[in-house]
Structures are given as structure tokens and as C-alpha cells.
Symmetry: C2
Subunit: 214 residues, 2 copies
DNA sequence: GAGGCCGCGTACCGTACGGTACGGTACTGG
DNA sequence: CCAGTACCGTACCGTACGGTACGCGGCCTC
């Protein structure tokens, strides 16, 4: 029963429409302006008063946290029914994960949010870092592993520990891309490139863990 | 001729002993205090005046840059004579790279410096990001690729593009480790764990790219 | 021992920015 | 029509921190 739902440790009430607009303003500002985000700028951009900002989100950190959570809530799309798998579907599913994951991490928003979270993790209370981790790396792990296990059940994959297998998958897909982007490398991946990368990663993963059905 | 030397784009004069002491103080402070590094704190810690700091390094950015460069200059150890390779030596060399690379990125210093550089890349002039990239990802790439190519020449490896092969290697070694550490995940790797990880990565890499000598 | 540097310590300045206070406007319920 | 609430806009406060100025002691050179 602990299956697909993306472990929301505490239930935070969803932001109202107006609040969502504010959070979108934060995201936009973050993407445009790099990360020296000031409360003044947010208030101006969102056409609201700073006082409201503080009333709604407590403080700057609260605003950032809400923003990260808000963005995360959008990404959690995806139907994950794991039925029985044949080789083609397994491959398809992995491809799907790989491509959409690359798509996310290559996006400006993801890069900026990760930067914020990393900076935050560097200066006490790694709250943001934990949130990003939970909604990024861990969330996708939680969704991929069942597929891997289903693949094993179907005799298509061989591994002992799905976590380890997943981490290899993760490495094959992401390689140096995320760190390069975070460090400011240009490196723009278009859709075609992403598809190619994803395919290569999946091929390699299957080469390592796949087995012809005995 | 463009071979092993780690592309130092501009020659910066090495810091004097006293300056090195200051930079070490910065590193220590960074490691201890997270990243809210103030010039005051540096001056206090290094027992020098702020004025001297500014005289030597120009401004805060200059100090950070010098620190990153200073740390980088320490890592560049390593004899890289690429002779003829047999399978065992190739494996050995790759293992070596993998383990020492993991060792570096798992270190507090690396994590903190990467955090700084990433934050910096987020707010205009990605200077630090570029430097870290050049001395991290790119430097190790520059050192591994010749080995891979020697392996190919010796008929031990098969690949078309050494860059691509290296990136796979990179992914297999690093997996999710760096991003997790940057985001504040605990995840402490002891030496044994690192050796195991490195061995697994090399095995996987050889499974993908190795070939029995024909 | 006199001048000149270098660099330490400390006091100081300016400003950017997080956070608060307050007046003014619109809407709601009674 | 009035009280209450919500929220915008703006002015304001406090402080942390980057950067500068200055005085003083140690060290060289002559």
C-alpha cells in the first residue's frame, strides 16, 4: 500500500489561486533574474504587498519552500499502473522515464530551483534541499523501481537490489548533465537530443540488467 | 599536443605562502560554517586585515575565485603516462580514476566549493562555475579519455567517441551521489564503500564497452 | 636612527534587503 | 450606513555585510 503515491510527509494546504499566482511570479522571477530574489521584487511582480507575502508565507524561506512545493506539485503527473510487462513495454516505460526526467532537469526552472535548494542546503536547515530531493531523485526512484521490479518478475531483468539497479539507471540517464547545467554550462538539449540520450541510456541499462526470457 | 595538461586558460600567479594560508582559512571557514562566508570572518580567522584581503584579491568574488583555484591546484596530482595497456592495467587505471573521483566529490570541501560555484552561476557571471567545471568534470575527462583511447588502441575497448564513452563512465561512477550530497543528503561514503562503488562502476563500464581482444 | 613599506586591527560608511507599520480602497455581512 | 476583513502601495526601520580609511607596530634599507 505504500506504493505509487509520492510520500507527502506533511499535508500542506494547497495555495489559493491568488497565492498560486504569486508563486508563479516567484518562479518567473527566479528564471529571469537568477537567484537574487528580493521580497520587494516579488511583491512588485505579483502586484501584491509585502505585508501580504509575509502574512501568507511567514518569511522568505517560507515563500521559497512554498514555491518549490508548488512546482513539485505540478510535476507529479503520470499514470503508473504496472501491469504485466513484455520486453517492448518495459523498454517503452524506461524510455519514457528517461526522456521526461531529462526534460525536467534540463529545464530552466529545475536548474534554478535546484540552485536555490543547494545554496539553502549550504547554510543551515537543509529544508529546501530535502524537499527537492524528495520530489526529484526520490520521487522518480519511487516510480521507476516498481517498473524495474515488474520487469524482474516478468523475467526480463536480473538484479538483486532495485535501489542499486535504479541508481545505475539514474547515472546512465543523467551522466554529467545536471552538474554541468547547475554550474552554468550552456549545454542546451533539444527534444531530439533528449530522445537520443534517453534511448542510449535505456539500451545501456538493458545491456547491463536485461536478460532474454529464459 | 593538446593532451594531458588541464587547460589553464590564463596564467594566474601562484599565491604567496601567506596568501595560501588565507585561502586555507577560507576553505576551513567554508567547510565549518556553510557558505555565509563574510569578509570579516575571513579576516578574523586568517588574522589579517580586511584591507589586505581587498588589496590581494580585489573583492569578495576574487577571494572566492582564488580559493577555488587554489583548491583545484592541489587536486591536479597524478602521473598519467599512458603506455600500452593490457586488460588488467586498464581496469586498474579506471578503478583508480573512479575511486579517487568519488573520494573527491564525497569530500566536504568539494561539496562546499561546488555549492558556492553553483550559487555563483545562478547570479550572473558564471566565473566560478566555469572554473569548477574546468577543474572537475573537464579535467577528469581530459585525463580519462586518453586512457580509454589507449584501451581502444589495444583492442580492449570498443567505442566511437571517447567523449561519449567517458560520459557514460562518469554517470556510472557518480550516479546520484553528487546531487544528493549537494542537496544536503547525509550519505557518508567510507573508503570501503567507495572502493566497492568504483569496482561496480568499472565492471559495468567494461561490460558495456569492453571486448575480448579479437 | 630615519624614512618607507607592509600588513594588522579597528572604526567607519553606504546600501541592499528582510521584515514591519500604516493609510487607503474595495468588498462583505448585518 | 457601519464594522470588519482582506489586501494593495508605500514609507519606514534595523541590521548585516561589502568595501574604505586610518593609526600603529614590525621589518627592511640606507
Amino acid at each position: 500500500m505504500t506504493a505509487t503515491a509520492p510520500r507527502d510527509e506533511t499535508v500542506y494546504e494547497a495555495p489559493s489561486a491568488r497565492q498560486q499566482a504569486v508563486l508563479d511570479a516567484v518562479l518567473a522571477l527566479l528564471v529571469e533574474e537568477g537567484d537574487q530574489l528580493t521580497m520587494d521584487a516579488v511583491a512588485r511582480r505579483a502586484s501584491c504587498s509585502k505585508e501580504t507575502l509575509y502574512k501568507w508565507f511567514g518569511d522568505r524561506d517560507g515563500l521559497l519552500t512554498a514555491t518549490v512545493r508548488w512546482q513539485a506539485s505540478r510535476v507529479h503527473a503520470g499514470r503508473d499502473a504496472v501491469g504485466t510487462l513484455d520486453a517492448a513495454t518495459l523498454r517503452e516505460r524506461l524510455l519514457d522515464f528517461a526522456a521526461s526526467w531529462l526534460d525536467v532537469i534540463a529545464g530552466r526552472t529545475s536548474v534554478v530551483l535546484n540552485r536555490i535548494a543547494i545554496a539553502h542546503a549550504g547554510s543551515r536547515k537543509g529544508n529546501l534541499g530535502a524537499i527537492v530531493l524528495a520530489n526529484g531523485r526520490l520521487a522518480i526512484g519511487g516510480r521507476v523501481k516498481p517498473v524495474l521490479e515488474a520487469g524482474r518478475t516478468a523475467g526480463l531483468l536480473a538484479f538483486e537490489d532495485s535501489e542499486t539497479a535504479f541508481r545505475t539507471f539514474f547515472g546512465l540517464v543523467g551522466r554529467d548533465i545536471q552538474i554541468r547545467l547547475l554550474l552554468g554550462d550552456a549545454l542546451d538539449l533539444d527534444a531530439a537530443e533528449i530522445r537520443r540520450d534517453a534511448a542510449r541510456a535505456v539500451d545501456q541499462f538493458l545491456a547491463l540488467y536485461g536478460q532474454a526470457r529464459p
